[in-house]
């Protein structure tokens, strides 16, 4: 992928502007790593036995891992992780992570839906896994044109 050299600026961004989409693959190893880094050791994210006893079909990914991956589409586009002013989502469906070497793909698309007072824009993200939306009402407000 070519690095984005020109950062988007508020004047040049229109409603409907699509951000470069991304597909992220989540494996069991990613869940172990995220558990350690975040301190979320809930066993439904690493034990099939406990996930099933909690009524889940299999081990599920941390919703917060999916949320963290999704916003990378935005921060990569803006070129500045500190540009995010607001970020929220609902968790609609779990991401089921199989015990194999391939993992599960999660696709993220994002579109500018509103131009707020400069330098802010609102972006709506769509996050899918296996054809179904796993996150809902996933919205971010970002400041364009460099760090605040």
């Amino acid at each position: 992928m070519t690095p984005l050299l020109v950062r988007p600026d508020h004047a040049g961004v229109e409603i409907g502007t699509a951000l470069p989409p991304r597909t992220f693959t989540i494996t069991r190893a990613d869940l172990v790593r995220y558990a350690a880094a975040s301190g979320d050791f809930n066993p439904i994210h690493w034990s099939e036995r406990i996930a099933r006893s909690a009524g889940l079909p299999d081990v599920i990914g941390h919703g917060m891992l999916t949320m963290a991956l999704a916003i990378r589409v935005v921060t990569d586009w803006v070129g500045e992780p500190g540009a995010v002013v607001e970020y929220g989502t609902r968790f609609l469906r779990p991401v089921i992570v199989p015990d194999d070497d391939t993992g599960v793909p999660v696709t993220v698309t994002a579109t500018v839906t509103e131009r707020l007072a400069a330098p802010l824009v609102r972006i709506e993200l769509t996050v899918r896994c296996g054809g179904a939306k796993v996150l809902g009402r996933t919205r971010a407000i970002v400041a364009l044109g460099g760090p605040r």
Binding site: R33, L65, R72, P81, G82, V85, G88
Partner: protein, 135 residues
Amino acid sequence: MAVNRAFVGRTYTAGQPYEVGREKIREFAEAIGERADVIAPPTFPIVLSMRAESSAVLDPELGFDFSRVVHREQRFTYTRPVHAGDVLTVTVTLTQADTLGGNDLVAFQSEVATLTGEHICTTTTSLVSRAGSTP
């Protein structure tokens, strides 16, 4: 067991201030496929807020079954990103405790600030503890 609505409005303050280390930011960033060590990724405050909220969630008198919990909603509103070297406090308020269709719901609003009172971000977290029989 239904969740105890009388707990709504209670405030919890995490015991010790959290000093944000550069290597902790790096570890978190790597776990989400990013590279960062000074300015933390946007969802980093969950490390602090979840820890602070767990003391409330695990209070047996709240009656919230953490073994059946799933994350329902999460929001961050930032004044600025977390930086390496920040020493942060988290003040948690329980904003909702309800039972809907047999599922227990709790929600928290947490204020992350520096020791000198500079606001960093507000997080809101909504959790569901699902009823016993349905997946």
